[in-house]
């Protein structure tokens, strides 16, 4: 059983991050990268499957060179090996171009993968595009918001249950492997990182680095050039015009003042 878990190096506290006024890019200098929190739930589901059925779990990330460290921490959780895809030609990728590089790397390194398990979305860009896009590149079925998955090694199937938060519905499917799933962010709370294992990962070089030299993707099809979307313009989000009448003083008077205004506005009858 080979399980591949793509993970992203997310920018920690997104609201505290600055933008370069000229390039519109995130100023990443001095910002420590951390694993996208929901990707740890994906790693957890992969490890639970491995704990029960055996096999190998690999994490893979497209990130700047300092992404090695957070891949090592996934090994600290129990992952077997990590792959860091890093190359300047991959910079500026939208979700299509990112998923392209990830999918092609998986096809090259782990052509016989059984499962690809991903996070529900990232906390810094929150598109949730990637799992379906990787599925599109690899032409395999996909299902989002998994809460549990149970492979049957004998017949090559996997039973997946998933939770649709907005419908309050748990659905169950059975698929022939390989498939791709994303993991519902409030399921599979991740286990701790063992520092010993993490150090062992560093010492033994369990994270391999891959550049486009090895991958051989057409530079016109990756990174900024391989991205159909462009950021045409950015602007500060302005609050909508509001009346902004503020009452300060006795709470009872405040309540009375509020009620009068809401009756006047005809939102309370």
């Amino acid at each position: 059983l080979t399980i591949v878990v793509p993970v992203k190096a997310a920018v920690p506290n997104i609201t505290a991050v600055r933008l370069d006024p000229n390039t519109h890019n995130l100023v990443r200098e001095g910002v420590p990268l951390m694993i996208n929190p929901y990707d740890r739930n994906a790693v957890e589901l992969a490890l639970r499957i491995k704990d029960r059925f055996g096999g190998k779990v690999v994490t893979i990330s497209m990130a700047p060179p300092n992404g090695k460290d957070f891949l090592e921490s996934t090994i600290g959780m129990g992952v077997d090996e990590g792959i860091l895809i890093t190359d300047r030609v991959f910079a500026g990728a939208d979700t299509l171009a990112t998923s392209h590089a990830i999918a092609k790397s998986i096809a090259k390194l782990y052509p016989n993968f059984n499962l690809i398990i991903m996070g529900e979305e990232t906390t810094d860009s929150t598109t949730a595009h990637m799992p379906a896009q990787v599925a599109s590149w690899l032409e395999v079925p996909f299902v989002y918001y998994a809460i549990d998955a149970e492979p049957n090694i004998k017949d090559g199937t996997v039973r997946v249950s998933r939770y649709l938060e907005d419908e309050g519905l748990v659905e169950e499917f059975i698929y022939n492997m390989p498939i791709i799933m994303s993991v519902y962010r409030n399921s599979n709370p991740p286990r701790d990182i063992s520092l010993n294992r993490k150090i062992m990962a560093k010492v033994n070089g369990l994270v391999k680095v891959l550049t486009n030299k090895e991958l051989g993707l057409n530079p016109d099809c990756v990174g900024l050039k391989g991205s159909p979307t462009i950021v045409a313009k950015i602007e500060d989000a302005k609050p909508l015009p509001r009346k902004k009448q503020i009452f300060q003083g006795d709470p009872k008077e405040g309540a009375k003042w509020l009620l009068e205004n809401l009756v006047k506005e005809e939102v309370i009858r």
């Binding site: 997104i14 609201t15 933008l19 939208d94 979700t95 860009s125 598109t127 949730a128 595009h129 599925a135 599109s136 996909f142 299902v143 989002y144 918001y145 039973r159 939770y163 938060e165 907005d166 419908e167 309050g168 519905l169 748990v170 169950e172 499917f173 059975i174 698929y175 498939i179 057409n218 016109d220 099809c221 159909p228 979307t229 950021v231 045409a232 950015i234 602007e235 500060d236 989000a237 609050p239 909508l240 509001r242 009346k243 902004k244 009448q245 503020i246 009452f247 300060q248 709470p251 009872k252 405040g254 309540a255 009375k256 003042w257 509020l258 009620l259 809401l262 506005e265 939102v267 309370i268």
Partner: protein, 346 residues
Amino acid sequence: MVCPEWNQVNKDDYRGIWVYVEHFNGKISEGSLQLIGKAKELAAKLGVDVTAIMVGKDLDKLLMEPIYYGADKVIYVDDDRLSVYLPHLYAASVVELANKYKPEIILFAATKRGRELAPYVANTLRSGITADCTALDVDPKTRDLDQVRPTYGGNILAHIRTPTRRPQLASVRPNVFPTPPRDESRKGELVKEKLSKLPEPRGRYLGSKSITEEDESGLPPVEKSDIVVVAGKGVNGVEGVKLLTDLAKLLGGTIGGTKKVTDAGWLPTSRQIGQTGRTVRPALYIGMGVSGAIQHVFGMNESKIIVAVNSDPNAPIFNYVDYGVVGDYKQVTEALLELLRERKKQ
């Protein structure tokens, strides 16, 4: 240069706006109907039609609905192989239709199912997609779709375009746009399509069960009410939430919470309002002990009247209110309850 591995796109071959109309268990998702309203506005600027796309099995009863809500046309597929929802089959169906008809824009409601489907469609067409847009516009000259999405935690808006590829795809969360009026006298065209390139299912749907989260309030979902009382961390526990639930009941509204409140388990996740929760646009929003973090504001910004009570005069929420009271939420709520009860008696 455009990636030579992709199909070459002649933008002039692509015309018209599509809305993917999601349905499940014989019900159309409201978010899709809301997009029909927006699509009509865009279509008027481009001088094209709005087409609703429906795929599934036994759709007869639903087919006219998109037209009643403003679509000019419905293209649909009624196929045994689509009798249950498998994400890759539904997505592949939309891809095949798009390859045949070449729309310039496809819009998806960003429901949980829509978020799953849309990126597969976009990617298979080798085009771009923007997630969770909060505003959409078109440039009549270039016919580019201006896709606006809040980024970097919400304090900045990015205008994203797909200038070299078609169709242009975008998703929009439910309730970001209002539902257009339903008009049964509207007429439109129904076009039945057959699929020839559907992939192997490779999987089976085994069934589903509803799990209603524990929700003691008995009040309607946050999206369904015209008055929403919202508990923030400042209410300091379930007791506070209970007090606000009483207020919501008395007002004939419902109760919601910030992420901190639902994370703490004081309310079920289904009542979380904001970027990673629900979007509401009630006539009246009342935030109690809510600081006004941008991720929360995102989910309530479109409310008609916004009210907040917060003990901190510098709380960011006061930048977004029509009426704000600086003070203890509990004292203000208790006073409000008393006043409302008196009013009821009269």
